[in-house]
């Protein structure tokens, strides 16, 4: 089991729950947030290695949450069902670890989460 902490942010309960369940099966410690504000608070309070976050949410969207993440920010994998190009480019510029279009292949998502966890670990080691 990996033991890395993952925060799943999505306003859709179905997506949130299934993603949490799958990540837990694969050994991650998973928390969830239903919107951007909660996610920002959660990231500031808890230490997450990886954030898997929907772009389009009521209130603050995933990209603006990404911009407000603490320092050093966790690796963020953004999910989107929409082709909002400006927001996606902003996400890339705000150093999103990856952008994944829904629906996605779960094996790829798991690989990305694993890569993001290791990358964060490496950064942590370097900064220590």
């Amino acid at each position: 089991m990996t033991g890395f902490a993952v925060l799943v942010v999505d306003d859709e309960p179905g997506m949130r729950d299934t993603l949490m369940a799958i990540l837990e099966i694969h050994g991650y410690r998973v928390s969830s947030a239903p919107d951007g504000d909660t996610a920002v608070t959660a990231v500031r309070e808890g230490a997450f290695d990886v954030v898997v976050m929907d772009v389009r949410m009521p209130g603050r969207d995933g990209v603006s949450v990404l911009e407000e993440m603490g320092d050093p920010p966790p690796n963020v994998i953004l999910m989107t069902a929409y082709a909002q190009e400006e927001r996606l480019r902003a996400a890339v510029n705000a150093n999103a670890f990856a952008v994944v279009h829904k629906p996605f292949d779960m094996r790829r998502m798991l690989r990305l989460v694993a890569d993001a966890s290791r990358a964060f670990q490496n950064v942590s080691e370097v900064t220590q």
Partner: protein, 547 residues
């Protein structure tokens, strides 16, 4: 509003088309000009000839009038001679032995010292002078043979005869009336004349060349006087008049035209001015014809371009309506598609969860059902993606994408159906610079198309390799292949030969590949198979790409 752009080349085309029939128009113009010039030229020449003839006639009439005048003056001058001679004869008859009366009367007749009057009578076989006055031989002297001959003529003629009698260097103008001083007598008047007398002949007719013959014909021997040595006079007019019993001939011609130089040259003037006018009129006619033709061509051109513009406008409007309809449909499709993506994602997650949770303990039936659910969900996701990609036309966000991973992932999402064997030949280092999700879509579509082309099984070859700046992906099936007609239409949106599907797969592929600046080509042989080749930028060229 791009449709308005169509208008410009259309106008240019219309101009080109208007230029094309110019050649026959020019030929026609030339013909009109030539005919005009010929007609006008003919009219000018005819007018010139008419004027020439009129002037010639005028000249002739003038000459005749002048010659007539001269002739009547001459006739008048000699009209009194016969009377004088008859009177002198009567005086000579009554004067027998007393010649003083005759001499007194003769002096009245004689005006110059060149003139003389005499009376002759038979004397033996010849003739001798019986009375004389002025420049005349003495009384009793015989007359020369030529005079004798003339005397005989006078005696046999009623009225006065006349002749030119040469006498050494001089010549005599001699008049003779027979039987005037009794039977057998002849009364004479004679006058010596020279070149000076000839010159005097001209007198008031100095503008004429005159030749006076004491004969009805222009015989050189009968020539009394001429104003020129060039005889006979050519192109002149002849005027006959009576002097005594004989007819004299006055021939007249003109060294300079009587009608005047201007009149003489009028035909040439008419010709010259006429030709100038003809050329001018032809030029004007041609210019007008050209203008009219140009105007006609212009009107035609404008009409054509107007018609074209109207057609373009109608097409543009129709296109606009169509585009708006499409846009509205696209909007709807986009909204529905996006809303379907979230539930599809959740369903796929659930299926993954179920598969994982069931693990090794799952029954064969359950595994099969799960696989079916996954496959159908993937198909639904693919359709939604196609629709959204086609409707949105999202610009690619390029990043380095290792092709081996991507191909493996796609093949795991759409595993080959039963009977199809997949050969994967992707060179490990092949990395492209592309939008991963879009190229994934391209591969998904190409691979599922390949499966669909082989319902009875076959081999699907997926290969990729990079060379230089480009990478080439080839997906080849051993399926049914396509005919030329199908091949020409495969990239058209909503074109499909399948029972399932909406016909957007290849249209999306084309759009994505084009958006990446790549190329796609297809080779297909019916019953043998189809091969799609996509060429894209290799990743190591990314540094050279603009940001």
């Amino acid at each position: 509003m791009t449709a308005w752009g169509i208008g410009k080349p259309a106008v240019a085309e219309a101009t080109d088309r208007a230029r094309t029939p110019r050649k026959p128009v020019r030929m026609r113009l030339r013909l009109i000009s030539a005919v005009t010039l010929a007609v006008l030229g003919g009219a000018v020449v005819a007018s010139s000839l008419v004027v020439h003839n009129v002037i010639q006639d005028q000249e002739r009439v003038l000459l005749q009038e002048r010659a007539g005048e001269a002739a009547s003056v001459l006739a008048g001058a000699f009209a009194g001679v016969q009377d004088s001679l008859e009177l002198l004869g009567t005086l000579a008859l009554t004067d027998q032995g007393h010649p003083s009366l005759f001499a007194s009367a003769a002096r009245l007749v004689i005006t110059t010292k060149n003139e003389g009057v005499l009376v002759t009578a038979r004397h033996g076989t010849g003739m001798a002078v019986t009375a004389a006055a002025g420049n005349a031989p003495a009384v009793g002297q015989a007359i020369p043979a030529d005079q004798e001959q003339m005397a005989r003529r006078a005696l046999s003629t009623t009225g006065m005869v006349s002749a030119v009698l040469p006498d050494g260097s001089r010549r005599w103008l001699a008049f003779a009336v027979g039987n005037a001083a009794g039977p057998g007598t002849v009364v004479w008047e004679r006058a010596a004349f020279s070149a000076a007398t000839s010159a005097q002949l001209a007198g008031p007719w100095g503008d004429l060349n005159l030749a006076l013959y004491l004969s009805s014909r222009p015989e050189p021997a009968a020539l009394l006087a001429a104003t020129t040595s060039k005889l006979p006079l050519a192109g002149g007019t002849a005027y006959r008049f009576t002097v005594g019993a004989e007819t004299w001939l006055l021939v007249a011609s003109t060294p300079t035209p009587l009608v005047g130089t201007l009149a003489q040259n009028t035909p040439w003037l008419v010709l010259g001015i006429g030709v100038l006018l003809a050329v001018l009129v032809t030029t004007v006619v041609e210019a007008q014809s050209r203008r009219r033709d140009y105007a006609a061509a212009l009107v035609e051109e404008r009409t054509t371009s107007l018609r074209r513009a109207v057609t373009d406008l109608e097409q543009a409007q129709a296109q606009l309506v169509r585009q708006e309809k499409l846009a509205a449909m696209g909007q709807l499709a986009s909204t529905v598609g996006h809303e379907l993506r979230n539930p599809l994602a959740v369903i796929m997650n659930v299926l993954y969860l179920l598969e994982t949770m069931a693990g090794a303990g799952a029954s064969e039936a359950m595994r099969r059902h799960l696989a079916t659910a996954k496959r159908e969900t993937s198909a639904a996701a693919l359709i939604v993606s196609d629709l959204l990609d086609y409707a949105s036309g999202r610009a690619p966000m390029p990043a380095p994408v290792p092709l081996a991973d991507l191909v493996a992932e796609v093949l795991s999402v759409v595993p080959p159906p039963t009977g199809v064997e997949v050969v994967q030949r992707v060179e490990p280092d092949t990395v492209i610079n592309a939008d991963r999700d879009q190229i994934r879509q391209v591969l998904l579509n190409l691979i599922t198309n390949g499966y669909d082309a082989m319902p009875d099984g076959g081999v699907l070859d997926v290969s990729a390799r990079s060379s230089g700046d480009s990478a080439r992906i080839t997906v080849t099936d051993t399926g049914m292949g396509m005919d030329e007609e199908t091949k020409a239409s495969i990239f058209t949106p909503f074109y499909t030969t399948k029972l399932r599907g909406i016909g957007l797969g290849l249209a999306v592929i084309k759009r994505v590949v084009d958006a990446h600046g790549g190329t796609i080509s297809v080779q297909s042989t019916p019953s043998v198979g189809t091969s799609f080749t996509v060429t894209l930028c290799a990743a190591h060229t990314m540094a050279s790409l603009p940001p």
